[in-house]
């Protein structure tokens, strides 16, 4: 098992083994008040070896901030063997995890997803809206 890619986005869905991402690549979120909460979605693709098919797997995620875990969750994943699998072919499996993150202070946050030791980390920054630099008008 390998998590080959992961990113934060506005929303995502899966269909027929494909990952549909809306507003992907979030690295900054703006919170006008502290404490508060922000919502973000983790979209990821896991690559599974043949022997990992037809078995349940445990998926864990957590959100870190200032060395502490501020949110965490657990889920399950199972991918059954398709009718035809090419010799040596490994399946890409999409994962979508909506996350509500409690915000206690501004700064760096990191979402860590782990599937039985296969791990990916995606960071984002929570800033005050006053720090948002808008492009000049006109």
């Amino acid at each position: 098992m390998e998590i080959v890619t992961a990113l934060l986005c506005d929303s995502a869905s899966t269909r027929e083994g494909l990952l549909h991402v809306l507003g992907g690549g979030i690295t900054r979120l703006f919170a006008p008040e502290i404490p508060g909460a922000v919502g973000v979605t983790l979209a990821a693709m896991a690559r599974m070896d043949e022997e990992e098919l037809d078995l349940p797997h445990e998926v864990n995620f957590h959100v870190e901030h200032n060395g502490e875990i501020v949110q965490q969750g657990m889920g399950g994943l199972q991918v059954n063997r398709p009718d035809r699998l090419e010799d040596g072919e490994r399946l890409l499996v999409p994962l979508v995890i909506p996350i509500g993150v409690p915000i206690t202070s501004y700064g760096r946050y990191a979402v860590v997803v782990d599937i039985e030791g296969a791990r990916q980390e995606v960071e984002f920054w929570v800033l005050h809206p006053d720090e948002q630099v808008l492009p000049p008008i006109g």
Partner: protein
Amino acid sequence: MQIDLEVHIEATGDRDEPAVWWAETEQVPGFSASAPHLAELLERTEAALSDILGDEVTLKPNLTPVESADSPGSAGAPNGGASDEGKQPARNAVRVFPPALV
């Protein structure tokens, strides 16, 4: 002896309590086992069923979907049907995520 094991993951409904894994099998009516993690569940189940049946068992676990929609945050039912031509084949994926934020 091979045991077909239905594996479930469920939220406890309590934000402070983590989700729980549990398992059952039609081959041993009334039997169920639970654990905080999947690996522990399978280990406990294998040991318990070996004791009950008085024989070594091989588990064939299968994750049970909780809903039928293949959408974010839900369990996708096996979608082994036809896919659109030119696209990747349908995948039989069950995702139960996240049953709980703990």
